[in-house]
């Protein structure tokens, strides 16, 4: 074990409705869907049409600019519809599931006995590749590039996040197989970021870094920045902890198995806990009948409250998300709210009274608690970004579309989630994550991948 890296900056937002360590296995949902919109910058080319019958692992579409990257059906069945939005943009490909459809047969082998190219080919064909993202930019890795290392975070510090110690503890052997497969893809090492209390401490062929501290200590970007910060021209790959299991299962069984655990959490959930279902499951299958009765609007979020995506009850859970959070919408007025003591509202500053009881958990709604203003209060962002970065000045460079400055100030090291807390604490309610993505998009457009 290496020594613990202590991160002091950051903020744990204590919210009500954390998932209890109980697991319930849900029946196979009647429909699942893959959403091309989950993949940043992807131009999908369809391989199937409505009424086609597919097995799990059959390609549904591929990337126009990287045709080798396949996006496959998480469960076998019949393609019932391809839903399109404005300008015929493909929004979701919906499959009516059939438990007997089975899976495409892939190679069943110990990844250590395979060559790097064989592993890569198997991941591309089976639809595992899109789980691998690259830094800079947090987009899907290019199969032709060589990463200097691969980083995996085994804990999530975001509010109400799932505890991977609980979710993965019985599948560590599979996790190891997944790691071994990923190890064939890089000449460098695999770095595992773990929490002080962890079940991942005995894995092999990895370098283990222990991180302690408040959110965003669990963000892989923060872990990279505090061990081997990315410089210009370097590429590091990252993958979510649960997604490593998919790869492990693929090599252990030769079949794709996208069984996945979601934490259902948030103050609007009657009994927050973990649900085992499948990638691409409809959110209704997870939340229906499990929310508190309310006469106000509720907001369903695929992901956590800082970085997740708001989805309707008819939608499907996001490709990369491991949790579903439900909070009050908060679209109501509050009389003289800014002048009230507001004992029940959380604030990072001590201008409200949440400092009185540090251990109290709060109900947070989606109200912005104020209107957007010019940037006034300095020194707030810096307190929640445990990286060698000047967040305010990086954001200013982004607003000015100044590529040189963005590069100098560290655009390669961040993605939206790393600065999400800045957006939370901002007095002026500036849309930080939107800005970060705008900067990244400009970099991709001007500099290429």
């Amino acid at each position: 074990m290496s020594e613990t890296i202590k991160l002091r900056k950051g903020l744990n937002i204590k919210l009500q409705g954390g998932a209890k360590p109980e697991m319930e296995t849900l029946p196979l949902p009647s429909k699942v869907a893959l959403k091309p919109t989950d993949f940043h910058g992807l131009t999908p080319k369809l391989k199937v049409k409505a009424d086609d019958v597919v097995k799990a692992g059959d390609a549904l579409f591929f990337d126009k600019y990287h045709p080798e990257i396949q996006y496959t059906a998480p469960v076998g069945g019949k393609v019932v519809s391809v839903n399109r939005g404005e300008r015929r943009k493909i929004l979701e490909i919906v499959i009516e599931t059939d438990a007997k459809a089975g899976s495409v047969e892939f190679k069943k082998a110990d990844p250590k006995s395979l060559s790097g190219d064989e592993v890569k080919e198997q991941l591309l064909q089976s639809g595992m590749w899109p789980f691998i993202k690259r830094r800079p930019y947090g987009v899907i890795a290019s199969p032709t590039e060589k990463p200097i290392s691969i980083y995996i975070s085994t804990f999530d510090t975001a509010p109400l996040a799932p505890d991977y110690n609980f979710v993965i503890k019985d599948q560590l052997a599979t996790f190891q197989t997944g790691i071994d497969a990923l190890g064939r893809l890089t000449d460098g090492k695999i770095y595992l970021g773990v929490a002080p209390e962890t079940v991942f401490g005995n894995l092999k062929n990895v370098v283990i870094n222990t991180f302690s501290g408040p959110h965003p200590a669990g963000n892989v970007g923060i872990q990279i920045a505090n061990t081997k910060p990315i410089n210009k021209g370097e590429v590091i790959w990252t993958i979510n902890a649960q997604d490593v299991l998919f790869i492990g299962r693929l090599f252990e069984t030769g079949k794709v198995d996208f069984t996945k655990v979601f934490a259902l959490a948030g103050s609007e959930v009657e009994n927050p806990k973990y649900y085992k279902t499948v990638l691409g499951a409809p959110v209704a299958a997870i939340v229906n009948g499990k929310l508190k009765k309310s006469d106000y609007k509720q907001r369903i979020i695929s992901g956590n409250v800082l970085t997740g995506t708001q989805i309707s009850n008819q939608c499907y859970v996001g490709f990369y998300d491991s949790q579903v959070t439900v909070i009050p919408e908060g679209d109501n007025y509050e009389f003289l709210g800014w002048a009230m003591p507001r004992f029940n509202r959380f604030s990072f500053s001590r201008a409200y009274f949440s400092w009185i009881n540090k251990n109290k958990s709060y109900v947070a709604d989606a109200n912005t608690n104020g209107e957007e203003r010019a940037f006034v209060v300095t020194g707030q962002y810096e307190k929640v970004v445990p990286m060698d970065i000047l967040p305010v000045h990086l954001l200013k460079a982004i607003i000015a579309d100044d590529i040189d400055k963005m590069e100098q100030l560290g655009i390669y090291e961040i993605i939206e989630e790393d600065l999400a807390l800045c957006e939370f604490v901002c007095t002026s309610k500036i849309e930080v994550q939107k800005l970060v993505r705008r900067g990244i998009n400009l970099m991709i457009k001007e500099m290429g991948n």
Partner: protein, 387 residues
Amino acid sequence: MKSLRKFLDKNKPLFQPGGKFSKFGSTFGAFETFLFTPNHTSKSGSHIHDTIDLKRTMTVVILALVPTLLFGSWNIGYQHGLAFGIERGIFENFIFGFLKVLPIMIVSYGVGLGIEFIVAQIRGHEVNEGFLVTGILIPLILPVNIPLWMVALATAFAVVFGKEIFGGTGYNVMNVALIARAFLFFAYPSEMSGDLVWVYDLAGNKPVDGFSGATPLAYAAQNATSEIASFKDMFLGLIPGSIGETSTLAVLIGAAVLIFTGIGSWKIMLATVLGTLFMGGICNLFPANEYMTLPAHMHLVMGGFAFGAVFMATDPVTASGTEKGKWIYGFMIGILVVLIRVFNPAYPEGMMLAILLMNVWAPLIDYFVIESHVKRRLKRAKIKGNA
């Protein structure tokens, strides 16, 4: 409250584009968000937001200023009593002074907010909260005898030329309240300096024997350090001076509020104090005249130092934006205060000019802090590249 909300909802369309009173949309919006925190919910990025907003931030600063306002009001009565040998109780002193301060505050807020509302309307912006603090800062840094029309003129000048032409709250280069004061200081020096302006009604009337109305800084500038009030009197604020500046104790209460809530930068406050002690200490080491022998810590309680360090230097818009820059910025203010006070006979008080000067320098400090940050990052990349 429901009926009020209903009334607002019913009349809102009139003020929206196309409505009968759409010209007053910003004004309506300002009152609406004042009465009710808006029902806006997150549309992108983070779904939850901190409870704090600019209104609350400004409210906390105003609360922090209340002790100086209360003490300042009382001190007007107290000084007036001293000057003319009138005996009054604490409460009577306070009322006497408060009635003198109130008109100045009303003029400052009236003129400033009026301009803010008009400009917001012309630009089609929301009305920003910045002036809520400026409006109370301006009276607190003026002498009690200031004619009201001068307050109005200075406020208008400061808001228009100090802030709005740069784009409004958040974009100004120099502290707006200090611009108002500097404007008066240079345009009407006779109303802003000398021994007669600090105590109510002193000009033209004969005080009791032995009362001069001179501030400690005025004595110091004349190298009459023996005449300066005791450290204790200056700390408590029992001296003539601008309305809100005299009591270091009252300012410290405000500082505690700002630091505890995390709204004022303790780094700037501490750096300013350290800079003053540093420069004051150097003067003490090489005393060429009597003023230079004045112990360095006396600077901390004289004149507007404490008030400026806590409420003016920490203005986040005009101070350095980088955390390292804040140390440099504060320290430089501290040095400049002493330099101006001790070595410039024309300006007994150096705080205003020191802060304004460093306001102008703040972007330069930030520039160098960012450059050194970038250099360090580049070095990291190169070391790695070679390895």
